[in-house]
């Protein structure tokens, strides 16, 4: 059986379109890119054509510090698709990044830890799936960081 260095086997390739290309290009060079609004100062992780807080078009791409805290999480014990059968149990987190934007991501080795809201996390980049695609994930930091 083929494995990747991170042991994360299940993976769907994301669909990249012209509006989200900057984000996916960033991931491939290990940058978690956010869209920051020059008008209201808000940052958003999921690409959108205008600022979802103030509708401004005056925005710029910024690179996230990669630090964040745990907003919510689900421990997936059952694979809902066959391709994830070897990954369970795995943890999906809803992470509040330092810049104020939230994003979903796996927590590496998250199912081996007692999780609680507010835990500090740091982004990392892993090779996912049999296609060896770079994707972001999070790892737990010792409490007290930040």
């Amino acid at each position: 059986m083929m494995t990747t260095s991170d042991g994360l086997l299940g993976f769907h390739l994301p669909e990249v379109d012209p509006d989200s290309e900057y984000f996916w290009d960033g991931v491939q060079i290990e940058e978690l890119r956010l869209m920051s609004c020059r008008s209201c100062g808000s940052a958003a992780a999921i690409p959108m054509p205008a600022c979802p807080y103030c509708a401004s078009l005056d925005r710029e791409v910024v690179v996230s510090s990669g630090f964040g805290t745990l907003y919510s999480w689900v421990v997936c014990h059952r694979a809902m698709e066959e391709m994830f059968a070897e990954d369970v149990p795995y943890v999906i987190a809803d992470v509040m990044l330092e810049e104020g934007a939230r994003i979903y991501g796996r927590i590496l080795e998250g199912s081996e830890t007692e999780l609680h809201a507010g835990m500090p996390l740091e982004v990392t980049f892993v090779t996912m799936g049999r296609d060896s695609y770079r994707y972001w994930a999070f790892r737990l930091l010792n409490d007290g960081h930040n």
């Binding site: 769907h12 994301p14 999921i46 959108m48 919510s72 689900v74 997936c76 999906i92 994003i103």
Partner: protein, 390 residues
């Protein structure tokens, strides 16, 4: 509070209810299921198909049939109002509102609202991927099923309110008691807390009993003006108040809740004041609740969101027996979607109507005058307050 008072409030009603059989494998096409439920709703109201001139429905990722097909199969002489929507659980109350608005506006006289799907033998909600423009940010890593998405909400709710696994368990424990009295329910077996806890997590914090039961089936209700309803066969369930809301940051799709400001509160918090205000009653005065329950947590969200229970107190409220017969607020008296089956909450509306009409057999709650109904669990949803005709 919104001071507007739409004209259909208090002037429109639901007056007929129909079902198909509920099975794990219907052996039928979805059109046949839809036609069976719609025929039954029309007959229940004491009408003929030729008198129905409007029909609306919803489907999730192409799991159902067009309203035009159903109107054709039922031999409608004409349709003045057709509305097909790509929606999920937020739809049933919302589409009843649309039907009532069409009636009040004079566009149609009798409008069917239905939901039909082969939800067990066909497209199953348990494993179906929840699609949309933001899927690239969740599918790759195995966040695709609806229950995983709802589990993220449930966890944040537990974080913010202190709700416990026992609070989640309280929902199916109570609803199974009603399901035992409901011949239509797919799951009728009694459930103890030990049974509940003995089952493994599927998507933690959810275990098997927290999850809806997939079903093949259909359900329809018939909406008309209160004046016309009074001449029909069944007692009208009057639409006193109804609301739909999608809050700020509703996302690019249903599973994109990353802009939603507070994952421990759903749309029910946003529409509560308007819903109660227009009905002229408060949460302490309503007799019954039929709350959309794709998963157990959604009942806790709605009880607290609508002010039916205190923040952080919904689990204790259920455990104290208040949602059972004889309690302050009998809730999900058909066993809910958890037990009766997942028709995306169309059957939640139907149960409210049947209880107000006192037609639920052994599970009828006597003297039910008012009922609050919800549709949806997440960033957007709809709700109604139905009453007996006074």
């Amino acid at each position: 509070m919104d001071e507007r008072h739409p004209r259909f409030f208090g002037r429109t009603a639901i007056v007929g209810v129909g079902f198909s059989d509920f099975t794990r494998e219907s052996g039928n096409g979805v059109l046949a299921l839809a036609v069976e439920a719609c025929r039954n709703a029309i007959e229940d109201a004491g009408l003929s198909p030729q008198q129905v001139d409007g029909i609306t429905s919803f489907q999730f990722q192409d799991d159902s049939v067009p309203t035009q097909a159903v109107a054709t199969a039922l031999g409608f002489s004409k349709s003045n109002y057709l509305l097909d929507t790509a929606l999920g659980g937020q739809a049933p109350c919302y589409l009843v509102m649309q039907a009532a608005m069409a009636v009040e506006a004079g566009l149609a006289d009798h409008v069917l609202v239905f939901r039909a799907l082969n939800g067990r033998s066909g497209n199953r909600v348990g494993t179906a991927k929840s699609g949309g423009p933001a899927t690239g940010f969740r599918y790759p890593i195995g966040l695709s099923a609806y229950l995983q998405v709802i589990a993220l909400w449930a966890r944040r709710f537990m974080v913010e309110t202190g709700a416990t696994p026992e609070d989640l368990a309280a929902v199916p424990l109570a609803q199974r008691k009603y399901a035992a009295l409901n011949e239509r329910a797919m799951v009728r077996k009694a459930l103890t807390i030990d049974d509940y806890m003995s089952k493994p997590f599927i998507a933690e914090p959810f275990r098997a009993a927290d999850c809806t039961t997939e079903v093949d089936g259909a359900c329809a209700v018939l909406v008309t003006s209160l004046d016309r309803a009074r001449d029909l066969q069944q007692a009208p369930a009057v639409i006193q108040s109804a609301r739909y809301v999608a809050g700020f940051g509703s996302g690019l799709d249903m599973a994109d809740a990353l802009l939603w400001p507070d994952g421990s509160k759903n749309y029910t918090h946003l529409l509560r004041d308007d819903l109660w205000g227009a009905a002229g009653i408060g949460p302490a005065e309503v007799d019954m609740a039929q709350l959309y329950d794709c998963f157990s947590s959604s009942v806790l969200f709605a009880l607290e969101g609508l002010g039916l229970a205190d923040r952080g107190g919904s689990g204790a409220f259920i455990r104290s027996g208040e949602t059972l017969p004889g309690g302050k607020l009998p809730t999900n008296t058909n066993g809910g979607l958890l037990c009766e089956g997942y028709l995306h909450g169309m059957n939640t509306v139907a149960e409210a109507v049947l209880q107000l009409q006192q037609r639920c057999g052994v599970r009828t709650i006597p003297d039910t005058e008012t009922c609050v109904v919800t549709s949806g669990a997440l960033q957007d949803g709809s709700a109604m307050i139905l009453t007996r005709d006074r």
